[in-house]
């Protein structure tokens, strides 16, 4: 008997130690990023986050992340603006409307969107989506609304706007699948109560289902935001990649840069230690954002799913 417990303890300890790999990975990543970015933070302090200059010339070194932080926010903002309504429509369709026969195939198709590697999104973006967006969205918007500064400039296709559009497609599977779970977790009694006072399906969904599930749906949106912020390859291939004050997103129809695309473009080639450190600093900012976003989304999604568990029991 004693031997048996000992053997199982060893099993528990071994698997437990292996499970610590997650902690090791996170600590290593944090250590590398903090350690690697000390140089740039010690030279420029918090100005590293708020400055707009990017000058790798010896003797005039200056690095600031503001344009790329703004670029990340703007592209992700476009992605949410377009991607969220689409994803919610899909989630609602799948849970509340679709006949059982089409539910599974459509879920598959939406999940396949997530399976396509982001470098292929990028390739498709450069050679296909770019021209469609340029001719059907950018030129008309620029023609009719060009007097508004965000639509001004000369549309070119490889710019902040197209990057936002491709991100909006890429975040659909994330938001749609989490919202789908959240909406299915809304207890049927809520729906039945609403129907019984004469509401139409749309009214039930809008006034009861979405409002009951709003915390979870908000969580789903935040997860999508996390995806959009961290997406690298597709954006790098489309956004045009400029550095310095030029990268400030004053118009949607100009080349820009996000934090991940900045790193992807320059990290390897940078010979200067301060510049390399600046790229690592951009990575640290990304890591911090993704940790905050993930924990926030997790709290919001599980809160709702737990309520459902309680109600069922």
């Amino acid at each position: 008997m004693a031997r048996k417990i000992k053997g199982d303890n060893i099993f528990k300890i071994i698997t437990g130690v292996i499970a610590a790999s997650a902690i090791v990975i996170l600590l290593l990543t944090t250590y590398v990023l903090v350690n690697g970015s000390t140089l740039v933070f010690s030279q420029f302090g918090l100005g590293f986050l708020t400055s707009t200059s990017w000058n790798p010339v010896e003797g005039r070194l200056a690095f600031g992340l503001l344009p790329y932080i703004l670029g990340t926010l703007v592209t992700s903002g476009i992605a949410l603006l377009i991607g969220v309504p689409l994803s919610l429509g899909i989630a609602i369709f799948l849970v509340e409307m679709a006949p059982k026969k089409v539910r599974v195939p459509i879920s598959y198709l939406v999940e396949l969107l997530a399976a396509v590697p982001s470098v292929i999104y990028g390739l498709w973006g450069i050679f296909v989506l770019r021209f469609w967006v340029l001719n059907n969205l950018e030129k008309p918007l620029n023609h009719y609304l060009g007097w508004i500064s965000v639509f001004s400039g000369t549309p070119f296709g490889l710019d902040i706007f197209t990057a936002g559009i491709i991100l909006s497609i890429m975040i659909i599977p994330t938001i749609a699948s989490v919202s789908k779970e959240v909406i299915s977790a809304v207890p049927d009694s809520i729906r039945e109560g609403a129907y019984s006072i004469g509401a139409t399906k749309w009214e039930v969904i809008r006034n009861w289902v979405l409002s009951y599930g709003r915390s979870g749906i908000f969580g789903a949106i935040i997860l999508g935001l996390g995806r959009a912020i961290g997406e690298t390859m597709a954006v790098t291939m489309i956004i045009g990649n400029v550095t310095g004050p030029n990268a400030i997103p004053t118009s949607l129809f100009k080349a820009g840069q996000t934090l991940p695309s900045l790193i992807a473009n320059g990290f390897i080639e940078s010979p200067d230690p301060v510049q390399k450190s600046a790229y690592v600093g951009a990575g640290l900012v990304l890591l911090a954002i993704s940790i905050v976003i993930n924990i926030a989304a997790y709290v919001m999604v599980t809160r709702l799913l737990k309520v459902k568990g309680g109600a069922v029991e």
Partner: protein, 276 residues
């Protein structure tokens, strides 16, 4: 009153139609991507293209590199991920486990470019001193491990406790019950989840930029730069030469075939078994 009702009914139908439009709008890009990749990629495919090195106009090194990196990453990442998942599922009722769980969740959302920096600093600069398949495999393992741990935990938890209790009642050790009863019972979920995770890392590009770097020649050793399909697509897409761009589409076709084969194959194979 009647008009009020018919207006509400109209809004209801309009909304239904809008949701359907959302589905269609989301499927169009998928269809377009698949169509373009097949249409532009298929004309590239021939024996020379698939087997020659990059200087002779082929993507042989990239295909080879992708399979090598998948193999290395799987060898490192799958055992660690599965055993972590076993711990979380079988002994997961404590604070340490819930901390590990939270960290795994965070890690699955960490941008992959950040993982690339980590592997670069630790392996390329710290250990090997060169760009290498080893560094690439470590970077991709950092992405694979948390995903596999999570799907393993989820599939083991679907196995009813009565199965565990029955094994223990027969006098089996906990580890024996885990590996002879619980894991086999969860096999189909485990395999599905793991293969989907492998499919995901097969298409990862960002971490490879800083770790395996790319190479025009076939595998040159564990301490030399190596090519991979995603890298080849990325690099060729930025070239002005139409020939190289066309090669990128050919490489994209091969990559998407690998990824979709893993995805669709796994789902078809496990469709019956996973139904609860």
């Amino acid at each position: 009153m009647l008009s009020g009702y018919s207006f509400r009914n109209f809004k209801n139908k309009l909304f239904f139609a809008l949701c359907l439009v959302c589905v269609v709008v989301a499927v169009i890009p998928l269809a377009s991507i698949l169509f373009e990749v097949i249409a532009r990629g298929a004309s590239q495919i021939n024996v020379q293209f698939l087997t020659a090195n990059s200087l002779q106009g082929g993507i042989g090194p990239a295909i080879q590199g992708t399979f090598i990196i998948i193999a290395f990453t799987s060898i490192v990442g799958i055992p660690i991920g599965v055993l972590s998942g076993v711990y979380l599922a079988e002994f997961g009722d404590n604070k340490y486990a819930s901390a590990v769980r939270t960290i795994n969740n965070v890690l699955t959302e960490v941008p992959s470019i950040v993982v690339g920096i980590t592997a670069f600093a630790i392996i390329v600069v710290g250990i090997t001193g060169t760009y290498s398949p080893f560094a690439g495999a470590i970077a991709l393992s950092f992405i694979l491990i948390p995903i596999v741990a999570r799907t393993t935990e989820e599939s083991l938890k679907l196995v009813p406790n009565s199965a565990r209790e029955a094994a223990l009642a027969l006098g089996a050790h906990k580890w024996r019950s885990t590996f002879s009863v619980v894991v086999p019972a969860a096999r189909s979920g485990l395999v599905t989840g793991t293969l989907l995770a492998v499919a995901r890392i097969a298409g990862e590009t960002a971490p490879l930029l800083f770790t395996i770097l790319g190479n025009n020649y076939f595998f040159q050793g564990l301490n030399q730069p190596m090519d991979a399909l995603p890298l080849r697509i990325f690099n060729n897409s930025r070239q002005p030469s139409p020939e190289l761009q066309a090669q990128a589409w050919g490489a994209a076709l091969i990559l998407i075939l690998i990824v979709l084969a893993l995805n669709i194959g796994v789902r078809l194979a496990s469709r019956g078994k996973l139904r609860r």
